[in-house]
């Protein structure tokens, strides 16, 4: 697979031939052209480009970290680091017997609170609908927020979660990664917290480096000795 990977910028020819264009590529005649800066990957029947820049675009079922912006009497608005605001209806938190007179939304979530949420629904006509009624979702009480570029989230997770597992094991920290590039790190020891944050920021800065996993491992191990 590695020999088929290529750095591309908008307008670059990725390949020609009968391939299915997937993310960030368009078909022009028989040419497949990249639409973004990234790394192209050619599979047996499809082509895609993994982007290195850009804002977060919500996708259904994505786990995101949101920050409560404001609320009306019926819903909260979450900043999800995107060009759209996340819409969290009150029924989702209070249940179906929610009543706008009896329940006060700010008793559950206040402006500025961090929330782990899932994109329940999103299409081009409406703002994304988010939900927190699921296991592991809801208000985040402790931890530090680290903001990274949303395009580097897959790199932070690594192949089958290898990168994040390594960071978690080495620092004993619990890391919640939102697909929108917001990451919450919590750890019982302050060294572990600092180290995990540093590792995450390192991934953000050096996402394109080939042997990043080794570099991160080295950084995590080195701090252990000192």
């Amino acid at each position: 697979m590695d020999n088929k990977r290529k750095y591309v910028i908008p307008g670059d020819l990725v390949t020609t031939g009968p391939f299915r264009p997937e993310q960030n590529v368009i078909l022009e005649g028989d040419k497949i052209i990249s639409t973004t800066i990234g790394i192209s990957e050619i599979y047996d029947d499809s082509v895609k480009v993994i982007t290195l820049t850009g804002k977060y675009i919500p996708k259904i079922d994505d786990l995101v970290i949101g920050k409560v912006n404001s609320h009306t009497s019926l819903s909260w608005e979450l900043d999800i680091n995107s060009c759209y605001v996340g819409f969290l209806p009150a029924q989702d938190v209070f249940g179906r017997d929610f009543s706008a007179h009896a329940d006060e939304l700010s008793s559950k979530l206040k402006t500025g609170d961090l929330v782990a949420a899932r994109i329940a629904n999103f299409d081009r006509t409406r703002d994304p609908l988010v939900t927190i009624s699921d296991r592991d979702l809801g208000k985040i009480d402790s931890g530090d927020l680290v903001k990274i570029s949303p395009s580097k989230v897959p790199r932070l997770i690594g192949k089958r979660g290898s990168m994040i597992q390594m960071i978690e094991m080495a620092t004993n920290a619990a890391v919640t990664i939102g697909q929108n590039g917001w990451v919450v790190v919590s750890c019982e020891t302050s060294e572990g917290l600092l180290k995990a944050k540093k590792a995450i920021e390192m991934v953000n800065e050096k996402a394109h480096v080939v042997n990043l996993t080794d570099q991160i491992k080295e950084m995590l191990d080195k701090k252990d000795e000192s």
Binding site: K6, G11, T35, I37, L52, R124
Partner: protein, 244 residues
């Protein structure tokens, strides 16, 4: 700049132009992607003595709300010349010329950007001309497309731009300020090299049909030179030097 020598030789008998270039030689071009921390994407271009800084924001919420389009994102471009960008102080208020250039740059970028992926949003492009020396719209357009790519806006192709013109009865590439003022024609061209499509073509002056065709060919050739420099700027930022 300023006072111009009326007897200035635009093209000497050896085919050398007033600034020492050959007829098919562009000015020195340098593009740097990134550089503005607070913008989502940015670029800086030096095109001869032109110095232009471009910042891109978005996709983001549209304000005022009524400008938003439920089918697609919108592109907004502001071209602005600093008061100190020219010899005599320029009033910083948007002039008729700046409003027009903003519009033509917007329309030259629109075929390239794929904003239909971001309905109800806006992408804002701010172009600040720090120093002007003829051909700012081409330089600004080239820098704007680098900044858009840096911001991660999906694009069908980069838009490269370069001017060609007619000076002393000869078709030349990349007219400078002197040639623009004293020459016979000036043709800015915006071009998408991979798709082989022209997105901007203006002409100030009179050309015969043959000259017109030659002028377009020369300009497109210039755009390809600019395109290589744009690609290099982005690759330097994202993949490190000497990669790929």
């Amino acid at each position: 700049m300023g006072g111009r020598d009326a007897t200035m030789v635009l093209l000497d008998e050896n085919g050398i132009r007033c600034d020492g270039r050959k007829v098919d030689e562009p000015r020195r071009i340098m593009i740097k992607a990134g550089g503005l921390k607070n913008a989502d994407g940015s670029a800086y271009i030096e095109f001869g003595d032109n110095k232009i800084l471009v910042g891109v924001f978005g996709p983001r919420d549209v304000h005022p709300k009524h400008m938003s389009n439920t089918d697609t994102g919108i592109l907004r471009v502001r071209y602005h010349m600093e008061p100190f960008s020219v010899g005599e102080r320029k009033n910083p208020a948007p002039s008729r010329r700046e409003v027009e250039i903003s519009k033509v740059i917007k329309e030259a970028l629109e075929p390239a950007v794929m904003l239909e992926k971001f309905p109800r949003t806006a992408v804002d492009v701010f172009i600040e001309v720090l120093q002007a020396d003829g051909g700012t719209r081409c330089a600004a357009l080239s820098a704007a497309s680098v900044a858009l790519a840096d911001a991660g806006i999906p694009m069908r192709d980069m838009v490269a731009a370069c001017a060609s013109g007619k000076v002393a009865d000869t078709i030349v590439l990349d007219v400078n300020n002197e040639e623009d003022q004293a020459g016979q024609a000036d043709m800015p061209i915006g071009y998408m090299p991979s798709l082989e499509k022209i997105t901007l073509l203006q002409l100030d002056g009179v050309l015969t049909p043959e000259e017109y065709k030659k002028c377009v060919d020369v300009g497109v050739h210039g755009c390809k030179i600019v395109y290589d420099i744009q690609k290099k700027a982005l690759k330097d930022k994202y993949f490190g030097k000497g990669d790929d």
